[in-house]
């Protein structure tokens, strides 16, 4: 285990870690995010990214999407521990390479430079649903939605076209087809 949960579980067997997307439906009340995040930090689980917002104003439900890495045993623990929290309604878990699930992250890029450079930057972003949110003679703010590694790549590639600022969200997820997770 890469992440021993007890001093005594110093194990010789190494289990493979996988990236998982954990989706948690919670009551939207004060401190609920602290409970979820505190559980992760308190038990030594890691959070790669986090996205949270209310999704049902009537029932007062928020949806938290957490990207984390762990062995199957750790991922199981994360889910079971989350389910024990009083404001948690349900917990879903997807592997990052699960084809039946859509994962998306959003990023905003500010590019500053001459028209030529900005054009090149927009071109490079095209395949990631690029939207121009702001435009001046010297600058552009481009929004893209893509996978994590694609955004990683873009924030690297755009440097040569005058990228000066990046702002990005955590991943959100949804299953394909007509199925709803219950």
């Amino acid at each position: 285990m890469s992440n021993p949960k007890s001093a005594y579980s110093v194990s010789t067997k190494k289990e493979k870690s996988d990236t998982h997307i954990i989706v948690v439906w919670v009551d939207n009340e004060a401190g609920v995010l602290a409970r979820v995040v505190g559980l992760f930090s308190g038990r030594g689980y890691n959070i790669e990214s986090l996205a949270v917002a209310e999704v049902d104003a009537k029932k007062n439900i928020s949806r938290i999407t957490i990207v984390t890495t762990g062995t199957p045993q750790v991922i199981d623990q994360i889910k079971l521990q989350l389910k024990k929290l009083v404001p948690v309604h349900k917990v879903a878990d997807f592997k990052r390479n699960d084809k039946s699930v859509i994962f998306k992250e959003m990023a905003l890029f500010k590019v500053v430079g001459n028209t030529n450079k900005i054009k090149k930057a927009i071109n490079a972003c095209k395949k990631y649903n690029a939207v121009i949110l702001d435009k001046t003679k010297k600058s552009n703010v481009i929004q893209i939605t893509a996978l994590r590694r694609e955004i990683d790549k873009m924030s690297k590639n755009l440097k040569k076209f005058g990228l000066v600022s990046v702002s990005r969200t955590g991943a959100v997820a949804m299953t394909r087809g007509d199925k709803v997770f219950n």
Binding site: K5, S6, A7, Y8, S9, V10, S11, T12, K13, A30, G31, A34, R35, G38, G42, Q73, D76, Q77, L80, Q81, K83, K84, L85, V86, H89
Partner: protein
């Protein structure tokens, strides 16, 4: 229009509707409205402690000995922070506590007001759940939910933080309606097929063992009856964790004694060699498992637990039954009966070799020690205490350290809820206030805190509480002038460098007892021990017993840290060859 009640009145209305009889607490500015209301509610008695940690541990002792939730009332700021240790202790040992704390008025929250602290923030990781009640409308609902969360599923502590203005605000009150089940958080989740699988495994097994824990106690006295029935029907050996002692009679022949770091040789070896391990309400704690890689390597493992997150947390199991221990055990017993399976008879041949092997381990007599005529050996003191109090339905609490292990090894419990000790958190200073709580719940019973002199000094102030309420608790101190367990580890791991583990100045415990207004007794010769213990037991009032024991005694047997079950140190002579080295040294 219905009558309006203040927040403080609502607090008591809720406590009355929850049948609360005792509150352990300490007043302060932010809870004054609640204290002001106390006089109008004669069915609820307040026990004034001397420190909020004491209130928490007393409530734990009350809860664990009575099966009812313990209620704590403290003020904001330091009142709340002082109770954190007790909340954490209750969380680790699954004790139902409801802690009500005062808070500065809502309009002052976040301004660094006098005696303000972020109580819900501080207690979030050490409670099952907590609430800050900012609106009087939510107060009664929250308090009733607090009791529900504390007592259902795997029990634990909760905290309700009530700002002072909410205590003054007014609203109507209605009794709680019949509650729905917590959304799946406390319900059983096992099928008849699981039970059949379990019985099948039991049928096939040649070397079975029951490994039981505090879950049996938490499931109520009926669970202990069900356990006794199952163990007797199957004829299987049984061992128990520290917290499970008393669920099965300690003097029964099928009981192998406690397992784990200071468990018996036969219990630990049976755990290592068994082919079927049935965990009932225990959690594979690291004090129990020793080295994970070599834990019970050849067994099928079954885990019965109410908390789904306990399953596969430390040890992967082959069959898990999530549910209340008593429900599962009753189900097993019923199936055994209806199928007319008599495991004792049908399995007798199969497991007779197993019992022979266990008898061989038993002959090692691993709890043995060299007694002395000159010094009182601490093990001897516990044995004598047991012999002289076993007919009295005695309640035992302990502090933490060597004396705790000696008490667990040498005091035999026959009933559940008679043994209150801090296992998970290992809180020195737990036993004395816990004894206060136990005595409150059982005013006519004999309550003894088997203590160490270092531990007991951490919460000694609660003797004053015992005197105030005429609680005849007996503090039986095994005084070896050392933090004994620390000294033992320094001897085994740190080349006898006894760094800061010796108390150079200890109080005169007889004078201390007298100063508090109770009785002090001292014994330092084995010949006078029995007589003085009798004197303590017969005295009608609180006693501090200073039992001066051999300061160099170590607690054996012992699984050295980082070693598996079958590599125990049995006594001082074996220490050298089984030296703790390498990685083991870094473990706790």
């Amino acid at each position: 229009m219905s009558k309006l009640y203040s927040g403080a009145e609502i607090v008591f209305k809720c406590l009355e509707d929850q049948d609360v009889e005792f509150i352990f607490g300490y007043p302060g500015g932010a809870v004054l409205p609640i204290y002001d209301e106390l006089k109008n509610h004669s069915s609820i008695k307040h026990i004034l402690v001397r420190h909020e940690q004491g209130a928490g541990h007393a409530a734990e002792g009350y809860a664990r000995s009575s099966g009812k939730p313990g209620v704590v009332l403290v003020t904001s700021g330091p009142g709340a922070t002082n109770v954190v240790t007790a909340l954490t202790d209750a969380y680790m040992d699954s004790v139902p506590l409801v802690c009500i704390s005062g808070q500065v008025p809502t309009h002052l929250i976040g301004t660094d007001a006098f005696q303000e602290c972020d109580t819900t923030g501080i207690t979030r990781p050490c409670t099952k759940h907590n609430w800050l009640v900012k609106d009087i409308k939510n107060l009664s609902k929250t308090l009733h939910e607090a009791f529900k969360v504390a007592t259902t599923g795997r029990p634990g502590p909760v905290l309700v933080d009530i700002p002072k203005d909410v205590q003054f605000a007014k609203i109507s009150y209605s009794k709680p309606k019949i509650e729905k089940k917590l959304n799946g958080k406390s319900s059983n989740n096992f099928s008849q097929k699981d039970i059949d699988n379990l019985i099948d495994l039991m049928n096939k097994s040649k070397k079975p063992i029951f490994y039981t824990g505090g879950g049996v106690i938490n499931s109520g006295p009926e669970a202990s009856d069900s356990l006794r029935e199952l163990v007797q029907v199957t004829g299987f050996p049984i061992t128990s964790t520290l917290q499970g002692l008393g669920a099965y009679p300690g003097d029964d022949n099928q009981f192998l004694g406690m397992l784990g770091m200071h468990g018996t040789y036969e219990a630990n070896n049976a755990m290592h060699d068994c082919d079927l391990l049935i965990n009932i309400g225990a959690r594979f704690d690291d004090r129990i498992t020793g080295k994970i890689d070599e834990f019970s390597p050849n067994s099928k493992k079954i885990h019965i637990d109410i908390d789904p997150s306990s399953i596969n947390k430390i040890i992967k199991v082959d069959l898990a039954l999530v549910g209340d221990v008593n429900d599962v055990l009753k189900s097993i017993n019923k199936t055994l009966k209806s199928k007319k399976i008599d495991l004792k008879k049908s399995n007798k041949q199969k497991i007779s070799n197993w019992w022979e092997q266990i008898q061989k381990w038993r002959t090692k007599n691993s709890l043995n020690f060299k007694n002395s005529d000159e010094n009182i050996k601490p093990q001897h003191a516990v044995q004598r205490l047991y012999e002289l109090t076993k007919d009295k339905d005695t309640f035992i609490t302990t502090e933490v350290g060597q004396h705790q292990m000696w008490a667990a090894q040498h005091y035999k419990f026959n009933k559940p809820n008679r043994w209150m000790t801090s296992g998970g958190l290992g809180t020195m200073g737990y036993g004395l206030p816990a004894a206060v709580g136990v005595q409150i719940a059982h005013p006519k019973k004999l309550v003894i805190d088997i203590a160490g002199e270092a531990s007991v000094l951490m919460t000694m102030q609660e003797m004053s509480t015992a005197v105030q309420y005429n609680l005849p608790i007996k503090i039986f101190i095994l005084n070896n002038q050392y933090m004994g367990m620390v000294r033992q580890w320094q001897e085994l791991l740190h080349e006898k460098n006894y760094s800061e583990s010796y108390s150079e100045a200890l109080p005169d415990f007889i004078k201390l007892a007298e100063a508090y207004g109770c009785k002090g007794i001292m014994a330092d010769k084995p010949s006078e021990l029995d007589e003085k213990i009798q004197e303590m037991v017969q005295y009608n009032g609180p006693v501090i017993f200073d039992c001066r024991v051999d300061p160099n005694e170590n607690c054996f047997p012992m699984i050295p840290s980082g070693k598996p079950h079958n590599q125990m140190i049995l006594g001082p002579s074996e220490k050298e060859e089984n030296k703790i080295t390498g990685k083991g040294k870094a473990l706790v």
